[in-house]
Amino acid sequence: MIGPNGAGKSTLVAILANALDPSEGHVETRKPPPRIGWVPQRPSHYGRLSPRENLELFARLEGLAAPEQAAERMLAFVDLPEGARASSVLSQGNKQRLSLAITLLAAPDVLLLDEPTAALDPTQRRRLWEIAMQTRDRGGAVVYVTQNLEELERFADRVVVLRDGELIFAGTHSEYSATPDAHVFA
């Protein structure tokens, strides 16, 4: 999903995540509804809790059977530093990875990523895409918002373009490439 600033990308992702009610229209979901994981643009966790405490809390809220083990697994999976340091003192990249780890706790079928790589270094970015691809390879879907056309070209199967809250294009990447009107950053 691409579009200039203020196009409504983050709002649409929040609506898809069921975190916001649409002012018009509705979201159709298949039955049984898929588990949806959402990584908002800004890090989303409790700053005064350590990464482990955050993960254990959300694992319990998700109703996971073994929250401590799930937290342990996720810390290793996203390669977050151990320790009791408050999450608020983590680097921006680590905060973003903690948000992703919290989202992945529930093993979502659909992963909604809102500009997930903006604060990540190249290594972390590569790791994130590995995780995203694993979700797709499991039969799930990844919807991601980006301003990075290289990422769009490399990872997107379908492209959605928004401008001023309006959908101006939806199609495969090759269709997008063949539609100059959809190139809002041109």
Binding site: A14, A17, A19, W38, H45, L49, L61
Partner: protein
């Protein structure tokens, strides 16, 4: 319910890691409570008044043979009012400026009327329309009462000298006229002698008059007590007993606890709900982990637990101070569970209001500031007696503070508290529910 408990645990853990904030939340409102208590206790306690002496009063006025100590009366009055001697023009200017709150004027001819003992002299009092006018009138009335008491003693003493003259005879003077009086004692002796007269008519008249003189002497002998009783039909005798100091009274305890938990609860709940948005977690929670209604409930419960606990702790500390100090009356320990109940219920009602404030402000810093700005008038309004400004009573009834204060007063100070306790519990539950519904309606703002 499990999700609410998990979030409650998280909030308590986070608060426990902010010990500085927690200490400030307790110490600051307590400090405010003490300052407000002192202001309420001592504001206008010793108002500054101008004394304009148009008669040039001496230190002592002589009434008959008795002396009226003017200086002593005014120095005693200085315990209640700050009397400053000024000229009339200076006094008028300072009253207009507000430097003095009233002018006490001793008019010319005052001494002459005091000495004359015929007309009552007057003292004039000029005040403005200030809020303390009633209090100043009371203070000056107390001053006039003190002057009257002194004068009555002087008048009675002088009058009794005339009575003594009537009884025992001698030389006297009144209004500048000198005279000699035979006195009832000698008159009785003379009449007794006449009653032995050989003339039966003279003897009979003399006996009759002698009887009257004896009765008159008996009656006059009681004049002193009668005059005192007439001058002071009722006397106020002050007996000091070892009761509680003002700061340890049940009512002050109740207001201090209510003030503290009001501050703590409003700030905690407003900042608590807004920080869920600041940390960008509320969207994650609202997606199904914790609904918005349970989230509001959790913040209300969190506030009830923390602020209610602090309120209860304060009640217990007050009780310990009273026990250690062996203060008369003691602490009603058996009612302490009701203090806990009242503090938790009151804190929860404040918490619902705080969540509403936090939802409207949306950001934790703005929410804290807004909660602080809202707390000050709500809490101070509850301290204004509704008998003075009835509108203050109506407005403060719409907020939890006055109901918490009354509930705790009923528990800590009232002999029979069930009626007042039940009414205030009803108020707090009702207000808490109304604010909780409003908070639930506005909390959606945090998602956008």
């Amino acid at each position: 319910m499990r999700a609410v408990a998990l979030l409650l645990g998280k909030d308590l853990r986070v608060l426990g890691r902010s010990s500085g904030l927690l200490a400030a939340l307790v110490v600051y409102p307590l400090l405010v409570a003490v300052i407000v208590g002192l202001v309420v206790r001592y504001a206008g306690d010793r108002p500054k008044l101008a004394l304009v002496d148009l008669d040039g009063l001496p230190n002592v006025i002589t009434v008959g043979d008795a002396h009226f100590d003017v200086k002593r009366v005014f120095s005693r009055a200085a315990e209640d009012v700050d009397l400053v001697r000024l000229s009339e023009s200076e006094a008028n200017r300072e009253l207009a400026n507000g430097d003095v709150l009233g002018i006490v004027v001793i008019p010319s001819g005052f001494q002459q009327q005091v000495r004359g003992m015929i007309n009552s002299p007057s003292i004039q009092l000029r005040t403005t329309q200030s809020a303390l006018a009633t209090r100043i009138v009371e203070k000056v009335q107390a001053l006039v009462y003190a002057v009257n008491t002194e004068l009555q003693q002087a008048y009675i003493k002088t009058n009794l000298k005339y009575v003594d003259l009537l009884l025992n005879g001698g030389h006297g003077s009144f209004l500048g006229n000198n005279f000699d009086v035979i006195g009832l004692g000698r008159a009785a002796q003379e009449l007794d002698a006449l009653s032995k007269s050989s003339d039966p008519a003279v003897a009979a008249k003399a006996t009759q008059l002698a009887n009257f003189v004896r009765q008159a002497r008996l009656a006059l002998a009681n004049t002193g007590a009668s005059l005192s009783a007439t001058a002071h039909p009722i006397q106020l005798v002050r007996q000091k007993s070892g009761g509680r100091a003002l700061l340890l009274s049940g009512q002050i305890q109740a207001y201090a606890i209510a003030l503290t938990l009001g501050f703590v609860a409003l700030l905690l709940s407003a900042a608590g709900i807004a920080s869920e948005r600041d940390e960008n977690v509320i969207g994650r929670l609202a997606r199904g982990l914790v609904g918005l209604t349970p989230l509001v409930g959790e913040k209300v419960a969190f506030t009830g637990v923390v602020a209610g606990g602090i309120g209860f702790l304060l009640g217990a500390v007050f009780g310990l101070v009273i026990e250690i100090g062996n203060v008369a009356g003691g602490e009603p320990w058996q009612r302490l569970p009701l203090v806990l109940f009242g503090a938790v219920l009151g804190a929860a009602a404040f918490g619902a209001l705080g969540v509403l404030i936090g939802s409207l402000a949306r950001e934790a810093r703005a929410a804290t500031l807004l909660a602080f700005l809202v707390a000050i008038p709500i809490l101070l309004l509850g301290l204004v007696p509704s008998s003075v400004i009835s509108a203050a009573g109506w407005v403060s009834a719409a907020f939890p503070f006055i109901h918490v204060a009354r509930l705790l007063t009923a528990v800590l100070a009232d002999t029979s508290f069930a009626g007042g306790f039940g009414r205030e519990v009803g108020w707090l539950i009702g207000l808490g529910l109304v604010y909780a519904v409003l908070a639930r309606l506005s909390v959606r703002r945090l998602l956008s």
